[in-house]
């Protein structure tokens, strides 16, 4: 390796005073600050960057920036590894670790490369045609094999240690792209008074101004732009975001952009910066200045390392002083690539031009000839020699429409710079339905109409001249500002002297004929990243894939991570020629976000780990933790499931808690129950309509259990409502129903019963609420210094007291979900923990036990109380669960009443709630187990119902269950069978669903 790939002078991006050493595939590479991995590795003499997706062909750098499709690398070690990044965009820093991809065991000796030898047997649709039989092989043989051999990088292993975040921003004008067009448009809009955000995916603003021909007021374009960037940076109404890719455009000018905040600088990361940030941008107007991407040319073996886009070769030299070689061929169908020839020649590189056009007449072509550069007109490259690099090309004469090579000559060279013209970058334009039109001069699509306030300028709009771009960008900036501001300031356009070469016309060249009769000299790649060739596209046509969308999916062309940036139009050109249609007749495929892939970390933002899902905490949360509670998630709440003591397992602690409530006293944190205050002259009438039973008859000071149906007549919620005053109630809902029921009530008031004077105020979180339950509950409460009478007559079941327990303001409801004497005590949440501790202290000497949600469920199941969502499933009526008596026959109307008349709801034999006792008392039926009409050896068996709740009852010393069984109430005493997994059959007897204290004496004790 002796060739000087890094020139001794030049390079507008690099700082030669700062040497940087980093690791590529385990090898130390030295570059300069400002280098990309692509430029530094090329400067070190290495051309090979990776293996291709399907054939494992050696591949090198093709592009200049985000369009790079071959040189994909994995960056970072272990959990910080990120695959599939473009080497042309990854900036080097001291200590950077990166690797090539899709090769095994190494980049140079890759076993998968044998795919190339059999490539004749891997045509388009290969997988669809081949891996069909036998069926059992799909999952276990073919898929693992395909996944191993085809692919890109590897995902990181382990949790990502870095942080990410999102940021919302609203602007008048969003400018996407910081090249000539974007910068001019941004300044104009900002001077007119608009709040402007400009984002650009690159590390430096200016786009490809430094690679552009032309002079503005005697300065080259890049020099003219430099002070503009400084002015913009200083403007208070302008925000510039570098390294920020606009990844998607959505409805109403909502856009997402991905900022690589600290990827280029570990010092930032160490200082606390997020690695990446997603910007969620709402713009009143969008100016699209995304520029254009150069097209590759389709010639035989056009994928060999050291064949790159003309702008990439130009950029490597101009920006990094790196030359791909010392003897190059520029292959073009347009004038622009001649600029690359000039830059190469100036750097002392031997270069010649192969131009497919017969009579190009632009200034640049004439200039090339004047400089003594050899230009072969009416010529194409028909073959490339060399495998892991280029050693020679064959140049053949060509005229448009000619399909074969007639004469060719060999020219030694070590690299090729190609240009097939330029495609405006339309991705963002098209994401949200922007229309595009074909431009004959560009031989490409350009923006047409858009329903959103979005304007494309400069190369993104197909405007390639410097002068026209400045004018267009200025106009767009002004129009955007006027559109979004009440009073936009007038911005005069500066008088500019722009000199730029007159350009000759481009001539479409979709396919360069190759050596050999049937162009068998090698592969003409269209989609480099997915290894799709011209032959694949033509085969798809011959096989009848007429629609471009079908061809795309069949061949996978345009479906790689680059979303067809360089391949889309070339593919359409091939299809057009193969079918004899025009490109507009072929149509285009869909552009989808993201423009370039971005990390899942950035998408998740800050919402990971403890922020992944909000956890709701009651006032007793920390106490529960201290006491070793096992959690049960209930919605977003965490509720204590049980409190195992040392040496207890969960079954034992649950049994202990249940028995404490039955025999002594227990305390439950029921703060999560929904609580809604309802007040107004029509409050009672309102409740009569939302519940099946009657509340207008409820006396002040009393409580009543209510059942709520939806319009379909099915049970949707239940709970106890207390009457605080004639016109004032407090409703309890299920924990899960708290928000939903409050919204439900509000909706009926606001949309249907607008004449009702009722206010509904949810107060769930104002109150901590605890159930003190058990035969000794009154004893404990008495110790709490109540300022009200606890006597059974003064404070009977289903009544409540407003008062004080010592210094605690409380609402005490004598209601029960356990079947025992029970008080639910509510106090303002801030006092919750203090009251809880006081209750625990008061009950300490009689063995008060905190009990969790599982004990709660067992206690209520022993009593046959339903839980909405367990005993009901959204198709269950009040009668189904044995609560038909709660459905008023007298009331004129209530929600769901009309539906109860439907034949399906009145038919006999519906599933009804029953109790079950298994024949074997220790056998606990699984929740959801199905009872069958008759047991067979194997399914199907006809189900007659299912288990809704099932527990081992510590009180009864045996298992109990509730179930919804067809015509269940008429089948008391009958034995039914449950067919379980593994052929096991459990028999159970149908009984009443109230298992304990049927007459309810305990509750009134």
């Amino acid at each position: 390796m002796t060739k000087p790939f890094r020139l001794t002078e030049g390079g507008n991006r690099i700082d030669r005073s700062k040497r940087i050493t980093f690791s590529f595939d385990g090898r130390d590479v030295t570059g300069f600050a400002g280098d990309t991995v692509a430029s530094a590795v090329l400067a070190s003499g290495q051309k090979l960057f990776g293996r291709s997706f399907k054939y494992h062909r050696p591949r090198g750098v093709v592009g200049l920036g985000s369009e790079e499709m071959n040189a994909l690398i994995g960056v970072g070690a272990d959990a910080q590894h990120e695959p599939n990044l473009r080497a042309t965009q990854v900036e080097v820093f001291q200590g950077l670790v990166c690797v090539s991809q899709n090769r095994w065991p190494s980049l140079r000796y890759d076993i998968g490369a044998t795919n190339s030898l059999v490539s004749r047997f891997l045509p388009a649709g290969f997988y669809y045609k081949t891996f069909k039989w036998p069926r059992a092989f799909w999952k276990h043989v073919y898929e693992p094999l395909i996944r191993r051999t085809a692919g890109l990088g590897k995902a990181a292993i382990g949790p990502d240690p870095d942080s990410y975040e999102h940021m919302h921003v609203h602007v008048d004008v969003l400018v996407i792209g910081g090249g000539l067009a974007g910068l001019v448009a941004a300044e104009t809009a900002a001077l007119a008074g608009a709040k402007v955000l400009l984002c650009d995916e690159n590390s430096e603003l200016g786009g490809i101004a430094d690679l552009t021909a032309g002079m503005i007021n005697g300065a080259c374009v890049a020099d003219w732009l430099a002070p503009l960037v400084v002015r913009l940076t200083d403007m208070p109404n302008v925000q510039l975001l570098k390294r920020t890719t606009a990844v998607g455009h959505f409805y109403h000018n909502y856009l997402m952009a991905h900022e690589r905040v600290a990827d280029h600088d570990p010092a930032l990361l160490a200082a606390g910066a997020p690695r990446q940030r997603v910007w969620k941008i709402r713009a009143k107007h969008v100016i699209l200045a995304t520029g254009a991407l150069e097209r590759p040319l389709a010639f035989a073996n056009n994928d060999r390392p050291n064949i790159m886009l003309a702008c990439a070769a130009r950029g490597l030299l101009t920006r990094y002083a790196v030359t791909p070689g010392m003897n190059g061929v520029v292959f073009t169908n347009n004038d622009d690539a001649y600029l690359t020839a000039f830059v190469l020649k100036k750097a002392g590189v031997n270069v010649q031009v192969v131009d497919s056009r017969a009579r190009p007449d632009g200034d640049l072509v004439n200039q090339a000839q004047a400089q003594g550069i050899v230009v072969s007109l009416s010529s194409v490259i028909s073959a490339v020699e060399g495998t892991s690099s280029v050693s020679a090309v064959k140049i053949a004469s060509y005229r448009k429409g000619q399909g074969r090579v007639i004469t060719e000559r060999k020219v030694l060279c070590d690299f090729i710079a190609m240009s097939g013209g330029w495609n405006p970058v339309l991705h963002i334009w098209a994401h949200n339905g922007g229309k595009i039109k074909f431009d004959e001069a560009l031989q490409s699509f350009r923006p047409d109409t858009h329903r959103d306030a979005i304007t494309a300028v400069g190369a993104a709009n197909g405007t390639m001249s410097v002068k026209d771009t400045i004018g267009e960008a200025h106009g767009a900036g002004e129009v955007a500002a006027k559109a979004v501001l009440k009073k936009a300031k007038a911005v005069k356009s500066a008088k500019l002297q722009v000199k730029e070469p007159k350009r000759g016309a481009l001539e479409a060249l979709w396919f360069a004929p190759a050596t050999g009769q049937a162009n068998e000299g090698g592969k003409h790649f269209i989609d480099f990243q997915n290894d799709v060739t011209v032959a694949d596209l033509e085969l798809a046509q011959r096989e009848g894939y007429e629609s471009v969308e079908h061809t795309k999916r069949y061949t996978t062309f345009g479906m790689a991570t680059d979303q067809g940036k360089t391949s889309n139009l070339n593919g359409l050109g091939i299809l057009a020629e193969a079918t004899g249609k025009t490109i507009p007749e072929i149509g285009t495929t869909t552009f989808r976000p993201p423009y370039t892939p971005y990390s899942f970390g950035a998408i998740a933002g800050a919402l990971t780990k403890e922020l992944f899902l909000p956890v709701r905490r009651t006032s007793v949360f920390e106490w529960h933790i201290e006491k070793g509670a096992v959690w049960e998630p209930v919605g977003q709440w965490r509720r204590a499931y049980t409190y195992p003591k040392a040496g207890e397992d969960k079954t034992q602690s649950i049994a202990r808690e249940v028995l404490a409530v039955r025999n002594s006293v227990g305390l439950l944190d029921a703060s999560t129950l929904g609580k809604i205050e309802i007040k107004g002259p029509d409050a009672a009438a309102f409740l009569d309509r939302v519940y099946t039973n009657t509340f207008s008859t409820l006396k002040v000071g009393k409580c009543r259990y209510g059942l709520m149906l939806n319009e379909l007549g099915f049970v949707m919620d239940d709970g106890v409502t207390a009457r605080l005053a004639d016109d004032h109630f407090v409703m309890h809902t299920t924990s899960g129903g708290a928000d939903r029921i409050a919204a439900w009530l509000e909706e009926w008031l606001q949309t249907e019963w607008t004449d009702y004077k009722v206010f509904v105020t949810p107060v769930t979180e104002q109150w901590a609420q605890f159930a003190l339950a058990g035969p000794k509950a009154r004893e404990v409460l008495a110790k709490m210094e109540p300022d009200f009478d606890l006597d059974n007559e003064a404070f009977p079941h289903m009544s409540f007291k407003l008062g004080k327990l010592g210094g605690f303001p409380v609402r005490v409801y004598r209601i029960s979900f356990s079947g025992e004497l029970s008080y639910e005590i509510a106090t303002p949440t801030g006092l919750g923990l203090s009251l809880w501790k006081a209750l625990i202290d008061a009950g300490a000497d009689i063995g008060i036990a905190p009990y969790g949600t599982e004990a709660l469920h067992i206690l209520r199941a022993e009593k046959g109380y339903i839980v909405v969502g367990d005993e009901t499933d959204g198709t269950t009526t009040a009668d189904d669960v044995g609560l038909g008596g709660m459905v008023s026959k007298k009331k004129a109307d209530f929600i769901g009443k009309r539906s109860l008349e439907q034949s399906e709801l009145t038919r006999r034999g519906r599933k009804q709630l029953v109790g079950l006792l298994t024949e074997e008392p220790n056998e606990v039926l699984p929740d959801g187990a199905h009872a069958v009409a008759a047991v067979h050896d194997k399914p199907p068996m006809k189900t007659i119902g299912h288990v809704t709740s099932s527990y081992l009852s510590p009180t009864l010393g045996r298992s109990i269950a509730m179930a919804l069984i067809e015509n269940g109430r008429a089948r008391m005493g009958e034995s039914i069978s449950f067919s379980l997994e593994g052929g096991k059959v459990v028999k159970a007897q149908i009984v009443d669903h109230v298992f304990y204290d049927k007459d309810g004496g305990r509750i009134h004790a």
């Binding site: 921003v169 800050a606 104002q766 605690f808 801030g830 203090s834």
Partner: protein, 193 residues
């Protein structure tokens, strides 16, 4: 006599030190949820008599008189702020004065936790968690509005340009605090102007 101890949702967490704004819980504030109809003159005048201020009718605004503030929540709902020790008395006064009127005043002092964000960058931190444009000049002191913040419901009240109170339902206080602490970590400034 049983002495109640009041404990806030964030009593066990300290003020974070590695953030570029100050984040702390406001403990001294009482809150009353007041419902009534603006078309009901009697309601409006009684409310004014008791509170000393007109209830704001304009969406997203607030009125204040001394330590009493009325924040607009919806066309028939306000959040009345006062000192925590006075909320029960004020609620009782309102309820009694509004006895003959269709209205509902509920003491909700413990329903929400209030987290005060203070300092240059307070607005930026809020924009990391919600889509509201805090750089908009309309978001001036006195501005109030309910919004989705991170993954939860929240209410913002702009006290001064760089002092903003974030009200969240108490059960979500820890979540909101954790999010804010992360969003305001030193080094995460976005550079937004």
């Amino acid at each position: 006599m049983l002495e109640p101890q009041h404990e806030s949702a964030l009593a066990h967490v300290g003020e974070p030190s590695d953030t570029y704004i100050s984040i702390r819980e406001i403990l001294t504030r009482g809150m009353i949820d007041l419902r009534g109809q603006t078309a009901d003159r009697k309601f409006m005048s009684v409310a004014k008599n008791v509170l000393g201020i007109d209830l704001p009718k304009q969406p997203r605004t607030s009125h204040s008189f001394g330590e009493v503030k009325a924040l607009w929540l919806s066309p028939d709902q306000w959040l009345i702020l006062c000192s925590h020790s006075k909320s029960a008395v004020l609620q009782a006064e309102l309820a009694s004065a509004l006895k003959e009127t269709h209205a509902l005043a509920v003491d909700v002092s413990d329903m929400r936790s209030i987290i005060r964000l203070e300092g240059e960058g307070a607005r930026e931190v809020l924009m990391k968690g919600g889509s509201l444009d805090f750089t908009d000049g309309a978001l001036a002191p006195g501005y109030v509005r309910r919004m989705r913040f991170a993954e939860i419901a929240a209410l913002v009240h702009i006290v001064e340009h760089n002092i903003i109170d974030l009200y969240v339902f108490r059960s979500y206080a820890q979540y909101a605090f954790d999010f804010l602490q992360k969003a305001a970590r030193n080094g995460t400034q976005t550079g937004i102007k």
